[in-house]
């Protein structure tokens, strides 16, 4: 039963994790809008989510363990592969951050993060009403 509950929210949990990760990558782009030679980066959310659901995220590059007492080394790579953004208007200092694009994507991703939160909250409410039943009516 617990695994059923777990499966129910798994999709949105993965989506939420990737949204948070993408939000952080976009924040880094905005922070480095004046850094020479900084290249703006982003993730392909669609393929990252499919990889995460199939259980083959980038973090699977951990060390193999031959004993149950070994610590499973986790790689420092994030949950999705980072890609470089295509440049619209190249600047002389080698920076590829376009503030308008980054701000738009940042706002968009924040809304999508909140949407994922709402979905999870709705699923909690659904499960809760299934557990409690409609005893009051």
């Amino acid at each position: 039963m617990v695994s059923k509950l777990d499966q129910t929210i798994n999709f949105n949990r993965q989506a939420l994790g990737l949204r948070a990760y993408r939000q952080q990558v976009l924040a880094a782009n905005i922070a480095n809008s004046d850094t020479p030679n900084f290249k703006a980066r982003d993730i392909d959310f669609n393929s990252a989510l499919q990889n995460a659901l199939a259980g083959k995220g980038q973090s699977d590059l951990g060390m193999s363990t031959t004993s149950p007492r070994h610590i499973s080394g986790t790689s420092s790579a994030g949950p999705a592969s980072l890609m470089y953004r295509t440049v619209n208007q190249p600047s002389a200092d080698g920076n590829t951050v376009d503030m308008d694009i980054e701000r738009a994507k940042f706002a968009e991703n924040a809304v999508q993060y909140e949407a994922s939160l709402q979905f999870i909250g709705g699923q909690f409410k659904t499960m809760l009403s299934a557990i409690q039943g409609q005893s009051g009516q």
């Binding site: 924040a27 922070a31 503030m99 924040a110 939160l117």
Partner: protein, 134 residues
Amino acid sequence: MSIFNMFHVAGSALTAQSVRLNAVASNMANADSITSADGTPYRAKQVVFEATPMGNESAQGVRVKQVVESAAPPRMVYDPKNPAANAEGYVSMPNVDVVEEMVNMISASRSYQSNADVMNTARTLLMRTLAMGQ
């Protein structure tokens, strides 16, 4: 956790941009300082930014790598009455370009605002996450 990293990233950018604003203020204030501590005219200072990893590889923050002094030649102004004038009557003035500094100031202030917005968004998202399922 990713959302907390956003605070570190945006915070490092706020610090870096305020250093840049400080440099602009210093340059503007000293636009007419014909002598500095070492007796030569004041030289315009510019900050150099560098991306630096905060927490993990994808969270690239900013830090001020170094503060460089502009190598532009001093502005020569003809003013024979000035005690600092040379034999031809010219005074070496600081190489501060006031127009450039104003542009620099507006750019730094806009970047500062953007990063403050990022912090606000991160805070909102965190608060919503804390209220998840309620």
